[in-house]
Subunit: 323 residues, 2 copies
Amino acid sequence: MAVTIKDVAKKAGVNASTVSRVIKDSSQISDRTKTIVRKAMAELGYTRNAAAQILASGKTNTIGVVFPPVDNKSSQPFFMKILTAINETARESNVSIAIATGHTQKELKKQVQLMYSERRVDGFIVLYAGKTDSVREYLFGNNIPYVLVGTPSEHQNEITHVDNDNKLLGHEAVRHLAQLGHKNIAFVTDTKEGEVFAERFQGFNEEMMSRGLTSSLLKFGQNFSIGKATALIVIDDVLSLRVLERLKAQNLSVPDDISLITFNNSIFGTIMHPFLTTFDINVTRLGAASVGKFLDLLNSTSHYHEKTVIPFELILRESTKAK
Amino acid sequence: MAVTIKDVAKKAGVNASTVSRVIKDSSQISDRTKTIVRKAMAELGYTRNAAAQILASGKTNTIGVVFPPVDNKSSQPFFMKILTAINETARESNVSIAIATGHTQKELKKQVQLMYSERRVDGFIVLYAGKTDSVREYLFGNNIPYVLVGTPSEHQNEITHVDNDNKLLGHEAVRHLAQLGHKNIAFVTDTKEGEVFAERFQGFNEEMMSRGLTSSLLKFGQNFSIGKATALIVIDDVLSLRVLERLKAQNLSVPDDISLITFNNSIFGTIMHPFLTTFDINVTRLGAASVGKFLDLLNSTSHYHEKTVIPFELILRESTKAK
DNA sequence: CTGAAAGCGCTTACAG
DNA sequence: CTGAAAGCGCTTACAG
């Protein structure tokens, strides 16, 4: 029914193997033959059968994308954005994407295992980092090719990963505020878990110290108070929205009374005024790089695991102001 | 290298075709044989090769999920949520998911065409409705099985689709407000495009009329003013956040001065106070039903296209109050 | 209830 | 530069 390589071969007056070679643009085929075969393909409307190609070649040319096993997490715009970027970059290299989602770590692991053992994917891109979970243990333990988006807590030297420089991000946040004349700067977070917090906070600390300023850490919760801070560095823009609300309730105006800078540049930063001054972490490039690195991993004989650092960019908006 | 059906057959002392039948739990195989074969599979750690199975059977058992061709749209939590639901439901029926994303309609169409012609998918679930675009024209014109999430503007009777009853949603919003004693109720939107607006607004109108109330439509923009309204029905919760901010700027308090009810129950409804009273549209069931309907479509010989209506639920929170 | 055989549509050494 | 052949790992009529 559907047109196959044989139909093309017959029409072009060549062997099927020649058609196959033309498809992959093999250098051993003469230009004359290529032209003839391509014409035949076009006339018949040939498209290759993916399953046949995968079975015969032994390569799936598809990457499994693993989402974090927590519902609320994946509702963040970040995930949809990076999925789009990954999909687009992959397509440019003619590779497909399969996705793995699950409510629990166990479900997720089952799915990842199945995908790999059914030979649906060549490996994975994992969209969460931090502490090793059973999914990543499985990948790591079985030497399955994968790259992490984010920074792992352990084995950093043995895992290919792609991330921003979160420590530098902490430094830069302080720098921006200090340039505006702020000295009493506090770091605000709702969680002390994870590498992202650890690194951004460390960078903050280092920069404060190097400027002879005393740093303070504010945990956002019930009785949140900014003390004598004149500027806040908030761990991400969703929390910033809550902080903003609390400040308003305390009759503190941003940026007039207090400056606020944050990270990620998600859609949450421009929903309400003041629009947030924030660091864009370049999700599109994170996604593109993760695909690139994965493909490198697959093709390289050497098992060299490196970290790729994606640059960020300060987006100046309305929430910071000179003191 | 990997263990195949042949290895299992040898170990179990049967023919490969028998193993194949055991895998699909064919009723023609004796229980005794099934037990023996399953034991052999377990001992060898057999998993079937997806590509071989697809090639031999001619069925891909995978569904292509098509995202809307607009960036900002897909950043809404809705899409990640429904993708997760679709993936989970599909997995329960042993079907896989492939995704199609693109910045433009043209890109998207190219991708959809390729997926289908390479025989990677049996058909599609399209995550946007409204007016027909070139992607859906292609699907419709070529008789490719697909289901729509949402309500199409045309051919409603010839397209299988899954949606909430948006008109009823409009009715119910008025009902809730009327029960609280409100009479001056306005509908607020930032766009008049699309079936969602059309239907919710129509339901609003009908219900207002049947109660002898005069309905009014407010377009949200520069000089937004609520007039003499005491209650607002806002098209979705993202816009609600902006409306809330504008009201605050006008020294109007929600819900004390004015009530606000909205739709979708996304994460945006509980970021800031007042938490929004909203209708949950049950995204998880939308996703699950779209998979179910798609599978029905594939297996049915009759080409009967129906609409599936997913129930919604009122989530009472802080933004509405008795007058 | 089970086996033997052909076939799905490609790829890839091997020859020439 | 091209062809003939074997093989990838399944499924599925066909027989018995």
